[in-house]
Symmetry: C2
């Protein structure tokens, strides 16, 4: 029998009614999973730095790498992650590819994060 813990707990003390009530109010598994995936994207300092640069200006990969003192390859890999998550979009201009913020949730989310830290 799997998940013995749950069984054992119920015998003793777990408030089965409370647990059931809370379970019903939780969002879909998928939604919570996707949310975690989104925050995972914010959870890397290279990507955060990229976003801060994009707060200031649209910019090409090469300049971005220079801003952060990192290799073009490393930046490019991370830009892809940001793009798949729709936090960033890109357009081609001649030989360069210019990246920019996809929408304003990014600013809000990061803003709230900063507020939390300032305490």
């Amino acid at each position: 029998m799997a998940l013995n813990d749950v069984e054992i707990c119920e015998i003793h003390e777990v408030h089965a009614d409370k647990v059931k009530m809370v379970k019903n109010k939780l969002p879909e598994e998928d939604e919570m999973y996707d949310l975690a995936e989104l925050f995972k994207v914010f959870g890397d300092s290279t990507r955060i730095k990229i976003l801060f640069v994009l707060f200031e200006t649209d910019i090409c990969v090469c300049d971005l790498a220079a801003c952060l003192n990192m290799t073009q390859s490393a930046i490019s890999h991370q830009l892809k992650v940001l793009k798949v998550s729709k936090l960033v979009k890109s357009r081609r201009e001649g030989k360069s590819v210019i990246y920019s913020l996809a929408d304003d949730h990014v600013r809000t989310i990061i803003g709230q994060g900063r507020e939390h830290i300032e305490e």
Copy 2:
């Protein structure tokens, strides 16, 4: 000589002036790093689920584990991460330890995340 990429780029095309301007506007390295660390905490589905439970009610470790069908140990480890990041606080009540949300930035941050996803 290290970081050849930057050097090479400058010879050719990088907009040194633009790069310098952006660099000046960026927050402190530490702040960006801390921000990434904060979001890293949100970037795991177990922790996200814990937070959603805490949106509904204060709850003990045992009930929390039952809600998520996970072991007490796994939950306890993650609660520690959440506590160190000040997203969650705890109080003892008899044999149990009751966890609750530390403040309301958590709701706001997660709310913005959800908005971003709904698109």
